[in-house]
Structure formats: C-alpha cells, structure tokens
Symmetry: C2
Subunit: 335 residues, 2 copies
C-alpha cells in the first residue's frame, strides 16, 4: 500500500506538496505536479478512505436501507437513486438488516434513505438528533434532519376504488398489507373514505402481509364465499399476483367472476393475461428524487417533503361488473 509518504520520499518533496499536487492545487508548479502524479501512478497509489474520511468528516457514500433484497421494484428504485447521484461524487450502497444500521451513526455513510419498516422511527429520530441526514420513503416522520419522499397512497387508493365503482361493482374486498405498514394504512384509509361516500358498496377487509402467499390465501377465502361477481383491491401487486395465480387453479376467471386491481405496477403485472389493473408510479423517479433530497439535506439546503404522484393503469383483470351473469354457479370450484 503506497501512501503519500512513499510518494514524497520518491519525489524528494514533502508530503504536503504531494497532497497539493494530487488535489490539483495551484500551489505546486506544473512540472513538480506532473512528476508527482507520475510517481503516484507508478506506485498504484490510492488514497486511504479512512484517513480522508477522518479528516474531511465525510465519506461520500450514502446508504439505502431495505427490508430485504427481494422487493419486486427495488431494481428500478435503486437505479433511480444511482441516477440521482450520478454527477454528485457520491456512491450508493444497499444494506439490509439491523446489523447494518451502525453504518449511519459511525459515519461510514453520509446519509441514509430508508424503506424498511423494521428500522424503527425511534432509532431514526435518535440519529437525526445526532445530526445525521435521513430520507424516509415509508413513514411520516418529522424532524429537521429528516425528509419525506412518500407515495401518494391516498390518491392511488381513491383512483382504484373509484374506478371499480364506475365499472358498476357493488362488492369490494380489500386485501391489506401488514398492520405496521404505513403504505397499507394510508391506502386503507382512503378506501374507507371513498366507501363511506358510496353506501351501496358492500365492503370487506381481509388481512394480508404484502406477500404473494397472503394474496393466494385471500383468494381462497373469497372464492369460498363468492356468490356474485366481486371486485378485489389488493393493496399491492405482489398479493394481487398471488391471488391471480391461485385463481388460475380454480374455475373462477379473473376479469369475470373476480375483478382484480393491485398497487405498484411491478414488472410481472404487465405479463398477466388478462393484464392486471393497478396503480402505477415511477419507481425510477421515486429513487431519483430521494437521492436528490438527501443530497440537498446533506448540503444544508432547506427541502420540503415530496410526494410521488400515481396514476391508474387499467387492465382487463378489472372489467365491468355486469357482463358476467353468473349463469353457471357450478363453475365456482372450491379447490
């Protein structure tokens, strides 16, 4: 490991001259500088991050904390973050698990983007109090050092429910996310608001956990009590797809007896036939904006909370309520 000392010795100058040369300072003559650069290259010199970080009190790395690495839309989200950091000199590392939280207070990273319910708000506030900068994507957390970049969950849920009401549906099942989920709570709240304005709508909740299997399970339950066409709003696409896949093993047809709509428009949704109706938003922009906000926070700029707008993505999995006459109840196999 070559250090600036080695270079200085070899070049016959002091370490400060080397440092200045390496940092392109005008305090060194062009020739000296060139000679030093040449020697640095020759020795494969690479500055030690620990030393630099210690002095500069920054690492030029930002961390994103995810609940796991399985999330169906993490790819695009992280891609967006990387784009937001492209020209900033910052690098992005993805972390998961309580263990890795230490990177923030220990200052190995200059800031954090959090999309992980299991990262407690108390812990986060503690770090914020210590001066660390955080952007949250999954909760309503107010602190000068915390910025929010949240999905417009309520608008999305409203769009979904109003869409199925317009299509004439009068029976609505809602499959929720886990109790602790901010997104799930917000979406559910909006569903209730809309439902309250439509008293003719029969409305029932089924608890899920945002994972595929819980969607399949909810599907099983719905099929068993199905007597007329029903609309199902799965609060995310993963559950919708889980239910979808379960339904293909029964005689119940999606878009006929059961009408499905999800939330997230993950990659797999576009491949379903009939296509899964869902709520769409740009994961790339979400990531991009998050990193932008964090950079501003780190730079000490004032930033307002941001909201990611959503749109309705129609699909034949959610059709009009009346076209299916339920003429043959025998089709409803209970497998």
């Amino acid at each position: 490991m070559a250090t600036i000392k080695d270079i200085a010795k070899r070049a016959g100058v002091s370490i400060s001259t080397v440092s200045y040369a390496l940092n392109g300072s005008s305090k060194v003559t062009a020739e000296t500088s060139a000679r030093i650069l040449a020697i640095a290259k020759e020795l494969h010199y690479i500055p030690n991050a620990a030393a630099r970080n210690l002095k500069k009190q920054e690492s030029k790395v930002i961390g994103v904390f995810l609940s796991d690495f399985n999330g169906a839309f993490y790819g695009e989200l992280l891609q967006g973050m990387k784009e937001g950091l492209k020209r900033s000199g910052y690098d992005l590392v993805a972390c998961s698990g309580k263990q890795s939280h230490r990177l923030l207070p220990q200052r190995m990273i200059d800031g954090a983007i959090v999309l992980d319910e299991s990262f407690s708000s108390e812990e986060l506030l503690g770090y914020a109090d210590m001066g660390h900068k955080v952007v949250v994507l999954d909760r309503d957390l107010r602190h000068p050092n915390v910025n929010q970049v949240l999905l417009d969950n309520k608008a999305g849920a409203r769009l979904a429910v109003e869409h199925l009401i317009e299509l004439g549906h009068r029976t609505l099942y809602v499959v929720t996310g886990p109790k602790g989920s901010f997104d799930s709570r917000q979406r559910l709240q909006a569903v209730k608001q809309v439902a309250a304005r439509h008293p003719h709508l029969r409305y029932k909740e089924i608890e899920g956990d945002f994972k595929k299997a819980s969607g399949a399970l909810a599907g099983l339950q719905i099929v068993q009590e199905l007597t007329e066409p029903a609309a199902v709003f799965c609060l995310n696409d993963e559950m919708a797809i889980g239910m979808y896949e379960y339904l293909t093993t029964t005689d119940v047809r999606v878009g006929r007896e059961i009408h499905l709509i999800g939330f997230d428009n993950i990659d797999a949704s576009q491949y379903m036939r009939p296509r899964l109706a869902t709520i769409d938003y740009s994961k790339r922009m979400w990531g991009w904006l998050s990193s932008e906000q964090l950079l501003k926070l780190i730079a000490g700029e004032y930033v307002e909370h941001e909201r990611i707008y959503v749109t309705l993505k129609k699909g034949d999995s959610m059709g009009p309520a009346h076209s299916s006459g339920f003429a043959e109840p025998s089709r409803l196999a209970h497998s």
Copy 2:
C-alpha cells in the same frame, strides 16, 4: 458528536482508560469501567468508524458487487451471504456500477464478492495484487487472493440436454446468454459436448442476452421455422419465461409443440403452468458459501475453490417428444 476525549474529561480519566473501558479490557477496575460506560451512554457516544478503521486497518464491512439490482435471484443469494456473515461481526453492503469499485482499493470494505461481468478481471487482478481479498462467482480467475465459488454449469447443461434426449427429442434450440458471460459459455460448451455424442440431434443456437425480451424474440424466430416438435434450452430462466410468455400469445403450446427448459429455477418458474423445467441449485447456499470463503480468505486461511452443485427440476414444459403429432399445422399461428 461525543468522542472519547469528551468522555475522558467528564470522567476525569485519560483517553486510554476510556478506550480500554469501552473495549472491555481487564486493565480497568470494574467501578471505573462502569462509570465510564455510564457516561458514554449518557453522551450517546458512538465510535467514529473512520478513526477506528484507520488504526485497525479494517472496516468489518464486506461488499458484494452486482451488475444491477434486478436479478431474479439476488434476494436469496444476498440472504445467504448475510447468514454466512451473521456471527462474524461483518456487515454486508451491496453495490452496483463502476463508480462503487473504489470502495475496495480505498479500503472502505475488507473484501469483495463479485457477480458482475462488467467488473473487469484486469481491474480485479490489480486489486488482488494489492492484497485485497475477492471471491468471484462469475469467472475463472486464479490468484492467491481470489477464490472462486462457481456454479456447476457444465453438469447443469448436461443434465438438461440429456433429459430432453431421453424424452425423445431430436431437435434442439439453444438460446445463449451474452457473449461475454462465463456462465453462458460454460453451459454452451457442455451442450456441444453432449450434442456431439448424439449425432441424430439437430441442434441450433440462437443468441440471447439472459434477459426476458431476448427469450421472447427467440421464441418468435423458432415459431416461424417450426415444422415439428422442438426442444428449447434457454440458458437461463428469465429468457425461458420471456419465450413462455410470448408463446401464450400464439397457438403453439408449451409442452406440446415446443418443449422448454431453463436454468436457475428462479421464483417465477414455479408459477408457470405447465411448470417450467429447469436446472436448480441453492442460491442461499451459493451466497452463504461465498461469504464463508471470503471470511477465510480475509483471515488468511487457505481455501480451495468451491463448486455449487445443481440438479434437474422436471416440469411439464418439457414433455416427451412423441405425444404431440403435429396433426394440425394450422395451429401454428405466426402472430
């Protein structure tokens, strides 16, 4: 930011005493130690990683370099790595993109696991020469500081081809990965070896890139020239699923006119109906073993290269060749 200096001042002792107390050394009396710990907690003391890393010449973080964050099996793979590091005191961070390579030479991480073709072997060897520890999952790279944990690609490809030959297939399309891919090259090589032993096998290559779309494209091409049942070996599941999904839009039925087998057994494969035949292996074990190997490398232990064994996962997407009579060529719509 409280430092050991602050604690020392408050406790009326020297910084070295504080350091010993914090590190649980027996050189400090229990009372003093307790007092110091209490003050540390009170001041919300957290050691500065840069200072510690600088002194200890290690960061207790290892990095995994991925080509992107979209990979269908990264979730399980990374989960396996985390398990391998569980009790080691090391944390895992995932990185992507050339930018982030600096973390290794700058010593922000103590070692690297590489699954990213775009991370060049030259660069990697350079780092290995500088003493950095690396585990590669995607190439044959020999160096004292580099360990390989590779899939048994050849066995897998052999299993796949022999399976379809046993089922009576005489026409085989192989959809390859990108040219630079080590996995693709190895799999292809094994295919050729088996094919050479079965001269009656008509065998044709189609170039793909391991992504969904290229599978669909290959499907289009195959359908257009299809005159009798054919077996298709997509060198990974993503392409197989791409082709699968394309075929559902035509009159060609998977498992009848076209028999499909993939490689990887990604999550989505189990949901296809008929199920996608594929080559299976434990992503969790792959990750687990990789991190184990890296830890040993870092510890200076001697480690041999490892190989991840694979198994054949049968599925109805690959049925016997003879059951489909091709009685109605009109079924082959060219949509």
